[in-house]
């Protein structure tokens, strides 16, 4: 088994997409042909209207372990140079950044596929739980079957 790649951070603090992008770009600089990034944001309409923010809980230790397994799977399936994952926890307001996934590769097909693969498995497997805060109070978000289905579909390819 080759050495694991990837940077994983679970933090309350906000993050800079630019910092992450510049780090991905600087490593393997002359060999990077493609960098794909994804950011998930707190948005106004999920299961209900009037969202004012959310609270994110996680399982320290297992989270990092789970994300590293997802990166390892991606790296064994596609040719990747680097991967960066940041997931915030704690209280987040509307339109704040929740999650960052960035991937650098020689080729765009590998960058796109692996970035989406990592997000799909993060949503299906990584131990995070969202509590949505709205005008009426707060409520735990129900897991969506569609998120399990999206992760499942990668094993059919």
């Amino acid at each position: 088994m080759s050495k694991s790649i990837g940077s994983i951070r679970i933090q309350e603090a906000d993050f800079s997409v630019d910092n992450e992008y510049q780090n991905l770009r600087a490593a393997h600089a002359s060999q990077n042909g493609a960098i794909c990034t994804f950011v998930g944001l707190v948005r106004d309409f999920g299961d209900k209207k009037g969202v004012t923010g959310m609270y994110l809980e996680h399982y320290p230790g297992m989270t990092e372990h789970s994300l590293q397994q997802i990166i390892d799977q991606a790296a064994s399936r596609w040719q990747l140079h680097n991967v960066s994952i940041i997931h915030r926890v704690g209280q987040l307001n509307l339109s704040e950044q929740i999650v960052f996934v960035g991937v650098s590769s020689a080729h765009r097909a590998d960058a796109f596929a692996s970035c989406e693969f990592i997000m799909d498995y993060l949503k299906a497997d990584a131990p995070f739980w969202k509590k949505e805060c709205n005008d009426q109070g707060s409520e735990w978000v129900e897991a969506k079957q569609s998120d399990q289905d999206r992760a499942q579909k990668w094993s059919k390819d």
């Binding site: 809980e57 399982y59 372990h65 497997d125 739980w129 509590k131």
Partner: protein, 82 residues
């Protein structure tokens, strides 16, 4: 054994962690769950869901996974991050 509870389950049980010194004969994660369920409410109804997940030593496990006194177990609802 350390047993952790997360998210909605943690709130309903009003417990985030327990330490057990004795497994009372439990051999699997399912045996531990059964012992928790027999405590009555809110344990019996909160832990009696088809959508309950269990991990053993921070890896997703099943109710048939064998456990020992040194293990870390966790029970939690389906994940919703990202």
């Amino acid at each position: 054994m350390k047993i952790l509870f997360f998210a909605s389950l943690r709130e309903r049980l009003n417990t985030e962690e327990e330490q057990w010194q004795d497994l009372n004969g439990a051999q699997t994660a399912g045996d531990i769950l059964t012992q928790l369920q027999t405590r009555g409410e809110p344990w019996s109804s909160s832990l009696n869901t088809e959508r309950l997940l269990v991990s053993v030593n921070q890896e997703i496990a099943s109710l048939t996974t064998e456990v020992t006194l040194n293990d870390e177990l966790a029970f939690f609802p389906p994940v919703t991050g990202g």
